[in-house]
Amino acid sequence: MKFIENKRSREAEAWLKKEIVEQKRRYRKIVAEQEALTPKRDKWIADFLQRIQTRGVHTHYDQMRKVRPEEIPVKPKRKFKVVF
C-alpha cells in the first residue's frame, strides 16, 4: 500500500492549489534558464563531438573508443529542446 485514499482537508486543498501555481512558475523559470544557456550548450556539444573523435567516447567504465568522423551525428533541422 503506497497511498491510502482519503478526503483532502480544505487547508490541504488550498495549500496544493498554491503549490501547483508555484510549480508551474518554477518550470517556466527552468525553461527560460535553459533557453538562455543555448549558446554555451552549442559550444559544449561541439567540443564533445570533437573530443569523442580524438580522446574517445566512454563505452564501459573507463574503456573508450575513438568515434570515426562518418559516425558523428548531424544536427537535425527540428527545434532542439532539453527541457520537456
Binding site: 500500500m1 495549500w15 496544493l16
Partner: protein
C-alpha cells in the same frame, strides 16, 4: 513555510511537485526543539537527514539516516532537540500528517525501514558520488524518471550546465543527459521510480521518441515479452501492478503516452 496539518517548527522549501496528485520532493528544516506527536501519512514517504539529528521514539538519527515510512504506518513521536536539515519525498500524494499512535488498517508496517544511507541503500533511492576531476564522455538516458539532490559539491552536464551544492533536478524518462564532469567531486542522493538502466550513446540531437524506440529495440533482445508491453505505447519501464497508474481495459492495465487515464477506445470493427 510550514506544511498544512504539521506542527509548527518544520520549515520546507519545495523542490518539485507533481501537479496531478501533490507528490512532492522538498528540503526541510527542523527547528531546534521541534516536536511532532506520533502520526501517519496517507502516502508513503522517505526522509533523509543531511545535518543535525532527529529522534524517533528513543533512537537518534544523524546525518546520512534514511527512513522509509509506508502509507498509514504511524511513526513514533519525532523530535529534534538541536535542529536538523533533511530531504523528504512524498511519493504518491501531497504531504499529510494525521496524529495517531496506531497504524491505519491498510498500513504495511513490514515495509518500514530505517538505515544509515552512507552504509548502504538497496532501493531505488540511492547515494552516489563523483570524485574530484571526474569526467565521462558519453550521453545517457533511462526508462525511468530520475531526481537528485547535491548534498555537497558541483557537477556539470552538457545539456544543463552546472549544478552546485544544494542543486536539484527531476528529469522525465528518455531525456539525454551527459557528457558529465565534476571539478570538486560531489555527494548526492538520487531516486528513480523503477530500475535504472543506462542507455549510452553519443548523439546529442536525439529526442524522447527516438530514445524510447531505441530503448525498446534493445529490450526486444533482452526481454521479448516486455517489448510487447512497450508497444501498447506509454513508457518502457515495468508497470507496478499493485499501484497501477493507468487503468484496466483489454487484458492489461495501462495508460498512454499523454498520461491520460480517463479515455475510451473505439470498438474495433470485425472483418467479415
Amino acid at each position: 513555510m510550514t506544511l498544512p496539518g504539521f506542527p509548527k517548527g518544520m520549515q520546507y522549501k519545495m523542490l518539485s511537485l507533481d501537479t496531478d496528485n501533490g507528490a512532492s520532493s522538498m528540503t526541510v528544516l527542523f527547528e531546534p526543539g521541534y516536536k511532532q506527536p506520533p502520526g501517519m501519512s496517507y502516502t508513503e514517504y522517505e526522509l533523509f537527514i543531511m545535518s543535525g539529528s532527529i529522534t524517533i521514539g528513543e533512537k537518534v538519527w544523524g546525518p546520512g539516516s534514511y527512513v522509509f515510512v509506508p502509507a498509514g504506518v504511524a511513526l513514533e513521536a519525532l523530535s529534534s532537540p538541536r535542529g536538523a536539515t533533511g530531504l523528504i519525498f512524498y511519493n504518491y500524494g501531497e504531504p499529510s500528517f494525521v496524529e495517531s499512535d496506531s497504524d491505519h488498517p491498510q498500513a504495511e508496517r513490514n515495509r518500514y525501514a530505517a538505515v544509515n544511507a552512507y552504509d548502504n541503500l538497496h532501493w531505488t533511492t540511492f547515494m552516489y558520488c563523483m570524485t574530484p576531476n571526474f569526467w565521462q564522455d558519453n550521453i545517457s538516458y533511462h526508462d525511468c524518471c530520475e531526481e537528485a539532490y547535491h548534498i555537497w559539491g558541483t557537477s556539470w552536464m552538457m545539456q544543463f550546465g552546472d549544478l552546485p551544492t544544494g542543486g536539484y533536478f527531476w528529469r522525465p524518462p528518455y531525456i539525454n543527459h551527459g557528457a558529465f564532469a565534476s571539478k570538486l567531486g560531489i555527494l548526492a542522493i538520487g531516486r528513480t521510480d523503477t530500475q535504472l538502466y543506462n542507455h549510452f550513446h553519443f548523439n546529442p540531437w536525439t529526442n524522447i521518441e527516438e530514445n524510447q524506440e531505441r530503448a525498446a529495440s534493445r529490450m526486444l533482445h533482452r526481454n521479448p515479452e516486455m517489448y510487447k508491453w512497450i508497444n501498447t505505447h506509454g513508457h518502457n519501464h515495468p508497470i507496478d501492478f499493485e499501484f497501477d497508474h493507468g487503468h484496466a481495459h483489454g487484458d492489461r492495465p495501462h495508460h498512454h503516452g499523454d498520461g491520460m487515464v480517463e479515455h475510451k477506445h473505439k470498438k474495433k470493427r470485425r472483418r467479415r
